[in-house]
């Protein structure tokens, strides 16, 4: 029941809707008690032959009236209670989305997108259900149940009521028990289904390998096994699920039986009329729902509570990276200066960067090379404040990057990430992501700079081609170039390439780098790359090894240095030259 307390804020916010909803629901329940009563009265009338046409038509008219009122009250409470719960879902979804947009990268490192999606869909649904079905079952099981029992006690016979209702609690307990069992088994069945899903996902992603190795039949066989497992787990669910109806039928039958046996006694004794007995059995039928609702209530509430807690835990996570108080909103500009004695990711004992110390002047290009895992990406991301330094500082134009607002910092930086992420929108919209108001000319200009214009024109709808739609697949290189164009459009003070040229061929790489040089006058560029050719023309090249700057200098200096860089460079060159030379000589 804690969920109702937790959702108190929402009930308060929507109190009029809920008050009206509950009120109409209660009126509705009360109205549904009238027809059985009328049946009883008429049965007695018929039996005693006291019924006349006028009386009959009056009662019939009364029933019609009840029917009309019931229909409208039923409509109104459903609108209020279920409709309002839809509003809760919407509100929670917006809150969660807003929260997601504020959270820092470390959060996204720790959480899988699938899990986050589950929070935003299943959990919100469960909470929404608690606010809709939960309220309905709560009100109905209590008020309707109480009203029916009260009517039976007051209007008919309290002793018979007690006797006939004896089996009812058993039903409530049993259905509640089934509910719990069902929930557990359902979870297991869902898991089996999600395994099946993973299996298919893997098969589809690996289709070329499957085909190249002729693994089709083996895949079908393992799919067959997984799908049989799904059947078995679902049968376990079905075996519990099928218990509900028969249990209810049987227990209600026992109630009826008791009512008839003992009711007949009262009829014989004359303390009850036959009509009252008829009404009584009809009321018994009406008690089934409140009893069931009671069982449902517990399940709905339990699930809603668990889901609400999960959502709250998410919402309680504070973004690690925020603008400092009193931070300047002026876009930083100028030389970029790193002084980092040591950096490690939050919660990790290993240091990723050590003794990083360099300055890159405004308008210059910085190249960062080194093996995978040497710390290149980390070094770049620190400038974006994806993580905060525990030790040391990074300055732009003499101002520490945390002395300006996040907004101002990000305005200064254009970032082309390693993994090219495009959104399902047109290519134009993707390129204009940072500046949705950009004109088509501007978009095409940066597309040319990024060497993607021609490719785009070759797509069926040109710039209006929607990413991710049927038939249009962009190659890795094309995606990279689009994200380059996207970063260029913002014309940032500092442009970061995080191994962003890895999927384009050498010729394109040269073309893009040359265009950048021409275009970005007096603006700083930072390039991390595996391929040395991407950084050859940089003003300063850093060679990272295990998080330290192993070598630094220009291409020529580094070559002269005879270190890793020179070795790597020579390695590529020599390898080819030796074999070529060997052949031409021999």
């Amino acid at each position: 029941m804690r969920i109702f307390y937790n959702l108190g804020w929402f009930f308060k916010q929507e109190k009029y809707r809920y008050i009206l909803g509950v009120l109409f629901l209660m009126v509705s329940s009360a109205l549904s008690l009238i027809p059985p009563y009328v049946v009883g009265v008429l049965v007695d009338g018929i039996r005693k032959r006291s019924l006349n046409p006028l009386l009959l038509s009056e009662w019939i008219g009364f029933l019609i009236l009840i029917g009309i009122i019931y229909y409208f009250t039923g409509y109104i409470w459903r609108q209020f209670i279920f409709g309002t719960s839809v509003l809760l879902g919407q509100q929670l979804r917006n809150t969660l989305y807003r929260h997601f947009t504020k959270l820092s990268p470390d959060f996204y490192q720790k959480h899988r997108i699938g899990d986050l999606m589950a929070h935003a869909t299943n959990d919100i649904n469960a909470v929404q259900q608690a606010a809709g079905d939960g309220i309905l079952t709560l009100v109905d099981s209590i008020t309707m149940g109480a009203m029916v029992i009260l009517t039976m006690v007051v209007m008919i016979n309290w002793k018979l009521t007690i006797i006939a209702l004896l089996p009812m609690p058993v039903m409530a307990l049993l259905t509640m028990h089934y509910g719990n069992l069902l929930h557990k088994r359902f979870g297991v069945a869902q898991e089996a289904f999600s395994d099946l899903n993973d299996k298919v996902q893997e098969n589809v992603s690996g289709v070329r390998v499957v085909k190249a190795f002729g693994e089709e039949e083996a895949q079908i066989e393992s799919f067959r096994v997984a799908s049989k497992d799904v059947v078995a787990k679902n049968m376990a669910v079905a075996k519990v699920d099928a218990l509900f109806d028969p249990t209810i039928t049987l227990i209600v039958a026992i109630c009826f039986f008791l009512a008839l046996i003992f009711g007949s006694r009262y009829v014989i004794l004359g303390t009850m009329t036959l009509g009252q007995l008829t009404s009584f059995t009809l009321y018994l039928g009406q008690l089934v729902w409140p009893m069931l609702a009671f069982g449902f209530l517990f399940n709905t509430v339990e699930r809603g509570s668990a889901s609400y807690d999960r959502i709250q835990r998410l919402l309680a996570i504070q973004p690690v990276i925020v603008s400092k108080e009193g931070a300047s909103a002026v876009t930083p500009s100028g030389d970029v200066c790193y002084t980092i004695p040591d950096f490690r990711y939050p919660g990790s004992p290993d240091s990723v960067l050590q003794a990083i110390d360099f300055t890159i002047h405004q308008g210059e290009t910085l190249g960062i090379v080194g093996k995978t895992g040497a710390g290149k990406t980390t070094l770049l991301r620190l400038l974006l404040r994806e993580f905060d330094l525990q030790d040391g500082r990074i300055e732009i134009g003499g101002t520490s990057i945390d002395a300006v607002t996040l907004e101002a910092l990000r305005r200064a930086i254009g970032y082309v990430p390693q993994d090219h992420i495009l959104f399902s929108a047109t290519l134009s919209e993707n390129i204009a992501f940072a500046r949705p108001e950009a004109s088509q000319e501007e978009i095409e200009r940066v597309a040319r700079l990024a060497n993607i214009h021609e490719d785009i024109l070759n797509f069926p709808d040109g710039y209006a081609t929607v990413v991710g739609e049927r038939g249009v697949t962009l190659s890795g290189g094309q995606k990279q170039r689009i994200s380059i164009a996207r970063a260029l459009l913002a014309d940032p003070e500092i442009l970061i390439f995080d191994d962003s040229l890895s999927a384009v061929d050498a010729r394109t790489e040269v073309a893009i780098l040359q265009a950048l040089k021409k275009e970005r006058h007096n603006k700083t560029t930072m390039i991390a790359a595996h391929r040395l050719s991407a950084v050859e023309h940089a003003d300063l090249i850093l060679v990272l090894a295990d998080g330290r700057i192993a070598e630094r200098g220009t291409h020529d200096q580094l070559l002269a240095n005879q270190g890793w860089y020179a070795e790597m460079y020579a390695h590529q060159q020599l390898e080819s030259l030796v074999s070529e030379g060997g052949r031409s000589n021999g």
Partner: protein, 594 residues
Amino acid sequence: MAEPVIENQTHHHVFRRLMGYLKLDKKSLTLAILLLIIATGADVLGPIIMKVFIDGYLTKRYFPTAPLVLLAVAFIAAYGVSALFHYYQMVLFQKVALNIIQKMRVQVFSKVQHLGLTFFDQTPGGSLVSRITNDTEAIKELFVSVLSAFLSSGVTMIGIFAGMFFLDVRMALICLVLMPFILFLMWWYGRLSSAVYRVTRAKLSQLNAKLNESLQGMAIIQAMRQEKRLRDEFGRINEAHKVSRLKNVKLNALMLRSAVYSVYLLGLILILSFFGIQSFAGVVSIGVLYAFVNYLDRFFDPVNQIMQQLTLYQEAMVSAERVFGLLDDKRMAPIQIGQHSPKIHEGKVEFRDVSFSYDGKTDVLKHISFTANPGETVALVGHTGSGKSSIINLLMRFYSIDRGEIVIDGAPLTAFTNEELRRRVGLVLQDSFLFVGDVASNIRLSRSVSEADVREAANFVQADAFIEKLPQQYQEAIGERGATFSSGQRQLLAFARTMTLKPKILVLDEATASVDTETEEAIQLALSKMRQGRTTIAIAHRLSTIQDADQILVLHRGEIVERGNHQTLLEKHGLYYQMYQLQHGADQEKVVHR
């Protein structure tokens, strides 16, 4: 007017085909229906027993022990039978339905396994997965809930009417008047809800897509300061979703239980009026009246049940249409043509004037001819989109060709069995795909390869060095797509996988994405070892790796523009030379002066 008719026809067609699956398990289904009929019969008996009690004994105040005990036993027995048979009936229906869906799933999955790459190129992976699992799951609902609800509701309604006719024919006929109301309500609700429901579903999937995409691209959204814009966009979709959900709520409030209750009241009024009016003229059986009221009460449970399953039914039909669309897809993988089944002994590969187009419009390969003699290496170079991968795709028989011919050891590619082809031609792909499992199972796949052979293959490609450092070595678990392994390690594992085949022909698609240099070296070493004694067709991105190739084909826009070995190509000063210059730009003078 023409359109809905067509829609209806396909609707009928889909429905008929779905029902065809019921034949798969006729025995269980018949048994389930039989159990259902018995259970319903017992249900219907209850009120009749009560009627006998009321009219025969209660109103007459006549209470002999033996018949009354018998009646009581009959009453309890009737409900006992009903409960028991209903339970088994429901479980059995579930079993039938789940088995049908399992078979349908295997059918769809098998179909997908035999579809060609043309199909996979044109179908987004996500939607394909969703068809095999989610759509069949929606159809499951049809069989599990809808079918059993419809059947049991139908049988119950018929049973109740049978009971009514047994008790009082005239009153039963009057109750039949309710049927048109009920059917009309169902039909109308079905119509209205399908429209509303479709919109709601579409909005929901938009909402989820937006959320999913935003979560994936959050780094970019934040780096480009678009949080507010995206929040607004999400808010708009959320609002639209809410609006359609509210419509749903409204429709349900108007047409579900409240409306059904109105029809119930109508029935009650009919019964009461009938008996009331009769009572003016003569004696009325209270027991019959009681039984009718009781029947009426039960009659509306199935109605509510059916109404609530209607949206599921619609969803299932939409899903079924998609699943059948997939089952009927014609884009099959190329298969063996003819009965000849030649074998690959030497590994001589010839392309004879091959032209190819994926879409039937633009040719990606034009008049490609070359010969790779047994043991030779033919390297394919060229810019992205020049047709290198297409040559490999054709050689692997991933696509069928209509112009030109590919010949292996003198026999056309189409003549080989799939098995022979897959065993003799080993492919190493750019992105090394790993399956969930362990190291050994990834090397072995489903083939019966001994432990020793797995180790030998790993050893051969020098993957053993890193495998043996793993805590579980060959039994080390591999998670989703081998995320815990570096891309270089993944490549070495893929090499080992290919080498267990000991193929005659090796097809290589060199990785573009750069690996760190040390791993790169191991990979190059492994590659050159693998190539020894095998005909190799290799795509190379770094020209340095293919300088010892016997033949280098330079491709440009689907044509072979230059061919020769490294040395002769350099001397030509053509495209190859240019590419080479570009890759080794800084040292071009040295190259020239040598």
